[in-house]
């Protein structure tokens, strides 16, 4: 069972991380995409921060929904509808469950429904799948997060802008997997799992 306060902390930390690492995310994206992933998410994080700080939430669902809609509207890149769909899907799931593994699995479903990417296509999905697995087994660690991230390096992109590069996408970490890694690191740091 998760508490709204720790989740707020989670999202706050995530926003800080993408903002601090904006240039790093842009760099990763400029290697295999258009170089805006950090800028996109920083813009999204600022909007989420403003939105969330204005509101009092009585339930998880409303909290997630606000985040999702804000990301969809403000991010501007593919990661907008993708992260947005994750949180909107979590908002729906939160009406039935407050188990974090169940919620994040719904988030992953939302991403896959929107982007149609499977495992191994070098997208954020390759970060989400192992993390959701680990959460289910109650052993999410920074190592799980970091290992999955590194694995995207050898993959060939077949979805998103990086797929235009074909084989040339190999050898680079996927920017969306990196930002998702920040999301899950923040989850550990915020202590949501100790709740």
């Amino acid at each position: 069972m998760v508490e709204i306060e720790s989740l707020k902390k989670w999202i706050e930390l995530y926003g800080e991380k993408v903002t601090e690492n904006k240039e790093h995310l842009n760099q990763l994206d400029s290697d295999i995409g258009d170089g805006d992933h950090g800028s996109n998410l920083t813009r999204g994080a600022a909007a989420v921060k403003e939105k969330v700080s204005e509101s009092e939430y009585e339930n998880l669902s409303d909290f997630f929904k606000d985040i999702g809609m804000t990301l969809v509207s403000k991010v501007g890149g593919a990661s907008g509808p993708l992260y947005g769909s994750a949180f909107i899907s979590m908002a729906k799931q939160a009406k039935e469950s407050d188990d974090l593994a169940v919620l994040l699995e719904a988030g992953l479903d939302g991403i896959q429904k929107r982007g149609k990417a499977e495992a191994g296509e070098k997208t954020m999905v390759d970060e989400w799948i192992p993390v959701v697995e680990a959460l289910k087994e109650n052993n999410l660690t920074n190592k799980v997060i970091e290992d999955s991230l590194q694995k995207t390096k050898d993959m060939k992109a077949t979805k998103g802008r990086a797929s235009y590069l074909g084989d040339r996408s190999i050898g680079h970490i996927d920017p969306g997997a990196q930002s998702s890694a920040y999301l899950f690191e923040s989850l550990l740091e915020a202590g949501v799992l100790n709740g």
Binding site: D34, D36, N40, V72, S73, K74, V75, G76, G77, A78, G80, P81, L82, G84, S85, R114, G115, K159, G160, R161
Partner: protein, 125 residues
């Protein structure tokens, strides 16, 4: 004289969207064409809110949507899920298929015949 089908063209760049709309207006004076491009603040990207708003603002019940790159498609699909319109999304060469569709809708060619012709321009999954 309006037409049954309206057209929504979505690009990552505002100039491309506006320019395309200029190209289409020339051959399809009676077709409602709405063009959305770029992010809210004029950067390269797509803007869900404006796409959603444009989609819902058609008088026509049927809306045919065209886009340049994949993330525009995701925004269009999100908008479709919460729209009352009967939206049809084309995975076809952006400029060329929008031009073809506009010409044919203007000429009152039947829907099925247009779709068949557009199928030849399919280049996205």
């Amino acid at each position: 004289m309006g037409k049954e089908i309206g057209m929504l063209v979505v690009s990552h760049v505002n100039d491309i969207a506006n320019g395309l709309s200029k190209l289409l207006d020339q051959v399809a004076q009676d077709v409602t064409i709405k063009a959305i491009g770029g992010t809210e603040d004029g950067e390269v990207g797509t803007d869900y809110a404006r796409i959603q708003e444009a989609m819902d603002s058609f008088e026509e019940d049927k809306v045919w949507a065209f886009y340049d790159l994949g993330s525009a498609k995701m925004n269009l699909e999100m908008a479709m899920e919460s729209s009352d319109k009967e939206v049809r999304l084309f995975d076809t060469a952006f400029i060329e298929s929008a031009y073809t569709a506009a010409s044919l809708i203007q000429a009152a060619v039947g829907e099925d015949a247009i779709v068949t012709q557009l199928d030849e321009l399919k280049i996205k999954e």
